[in-house]
Point group: C2
Chain length 363, copies 2
Amino acid sequence: PRPLHVVALGGDGIGPEVTAQALRVLRHMQARHALPLVIEEMPYGNATWRATGRLVPAATDAAIGRADAILFGAADSLGRSAMPAEERARGSLLALRRRLNLFANIRPVRTERALDEVSPFKARTLRGVDLAFVRELSGGIYFGEPRGIERLEDGQRRGINTHSYTEEQVVRAARFAFALARGRRGRVTSVDKANVMEAGALWRQVVGALHHDEFRDVALDHMLADTCALMLNRDPQRFDVILTDNLFGDLLSDAAAGLAGSLGLLPSASLSPPAPDGRRRALYEPVHGSAPDIAGKGIANPLAAILSAALLLRWSAGAEAAAREVEAAVSAALSAGARCADIALPGEAVLDTAGMGDAVLAR
Amino acid sequence: PRPLHVVALGGDGIGPEVTAQALRVLRHMQARHALPLVIEEMPYGNATWRATGRLVPAATDAAIGRADAILFGAADSLGRSAMPAEERARGSLLALRRRLNLFANIRPVRTERALDEVSPFKARTLRGVDLAFVRELSGGIYFGEPRGIERLEDGQRRGINTHSYTEEQVVRAARFAFALARGRRGRVTSVDKANVMEAGALWRQVVGALHHDEFRDVALDHMLADTCALMLNRDPQRFDVILTDNLFGDLLSDAAAGLAGSLGLLPSASLSPPAPDGRRRALYEPVHGSAPDIAGKGIANPLAAILSAALLLRWSAGAEAAAREVEAAVSAALSAGARCADIALPGEAVLDTAGMGDAVLAR
Ligand SMILES: CC(C)[C@H](C(=O)O)[C@@H](O)C(=O)O
Ligand SMILES: CC(C)[C@H](C(=O)O)[C@@H](O)C(=O)O
């Protein structure tokens, strides 16, 4: 089979720094497991715009066209407010999601035993959280039409967005969630507001029917989105796979991220449906953003980016063993006391970005 | 002025039990402060439906028509799945909100010092949380048209809901939030997804303009809804008043409720715009639901209902001093060690519902 084409887009803020460490780890695994990867690093983002007048220069655009997998750093959308709206739209994450047809966003949230003391909540109840979001990424209020601002007869304005889901969109995301749960603890919690939204009632019905027809071996429960927000805080261990629409997933996965010791540990993967050759296109990205306050200092925690590379090994390269090695190396580094500033207790020795990369590579 | 007409609807599950204690406290304050209140207790809910075939019998319906304030217990919508859809709709909280024209839902979330040890997070970082949601309650995806399930040309179904906000709706909720902040710590955080939704961009613009024109003494910041979900977990003390639309408020206020020691402590108030005589119609309700698992046992914590009665004293009866007395009595009871089962540590003595009512009344 042709090699897997990986395009690295470091992007804004700390994106390039953490992506560099993820690439070190990826190249190491490539050599160690003789993986057929082609890796291209391409310019993208606000610095690129300042240099070239484009967020996504033509060469980067072409590379994205060839990419099976994108290793993404960060996009600082606030830093783009002065750019022309068209350029901002072209360079946005939403544009990338649409272009690659990414329909499922996977976000594992796991609390590391080694970091119990670092959780802002120091919480006995947080021990052993191990859940994963499957967030539908192609539909809902993000893309529905009609949308916009209209002028009413009385002169005032009205803002409108449309939340829309077809059965196919729901089935596709739900099927992915059920399959994922089979490789985990076998439980899916499907989230909606069926008590308020007809589209939520349809969501619930379609997920239930698919479960009945194809996934009766997986445990399914339906939960209202507000209840899920509450339960994530009160009993996060009860969750295995959480299936959500685009908007609920946006809020709930960030709420869950707040449970972990630091955003600096959380990776994500966004996948397209499989092509006829079975291959999915995908984008891998740490959950933290561009963190402009610490950008350029070389102190950002690269673990979320490194764990995103592990997801790339798993989902795009089909190299499960390599993915597990990376994840185990991260846990081992943490257990041995490796800390960046975001997860250090007062007085603890702190590694810089490259130092944490070394600590992982050493294992 | 004519007396304030209060209608108590205990409703389902633990609703009647906790409402009974709230009414004891309310009647006590009525006598103590010579407040001009007329209080009617009316049948409502699933038991009423079983007895009369109506969730809201005619007499209750008429009482609601007369009510200035409703003291609401709980509605168990799951328990209503066997009822005709029309009856469910007529008896729903959404129908009440619409009928009373309730546009602002206020939910204070405060951590009680006495309960530090009870928080599921035992969290030093949770000390001193003192925030209040102002959730817009009349618009957004809850009520927007078009809505429903349609059949597409290819035979599959599509669920649609419309998120819609007029400038007037936003101004009305924002004005309320700014005014509320003036009596607190003078800070409003307005929540939206302006980066994704045009209606969110309009929300941001309208709130900003109102701030500029009328409330420059209040500090305003805008926050994306996902960031707010994260920050509620990581740094909840930073918030004073959080202004949200209907849907974001639903999720975020439940997420924040998860921070408190127990849902059993959280009250809420929903208000209409003032009538020409200055009076608002209102509904007061504990944030916890009907809790069918403990209903009928007399062990539910009545503090959320009692604190909801305090909000009634404040917002409907204009009896600020009485409201504060109730709130202080609740804090004093907790400081003296009064506990219901939901907030007791293992081995601690536990009061039943009426016992907690006594403990508050004794102060
Ligand atoms: C940047 C923004 C469009 C995006 C979203 O809302 O989906 C972000 O919050 C995310 O979760 O990836
Ligand atoms: C019962 C339901 C319609 C309601 C809502 O979604 O608004 C509830 O969750 C609430 O927050 O009061």
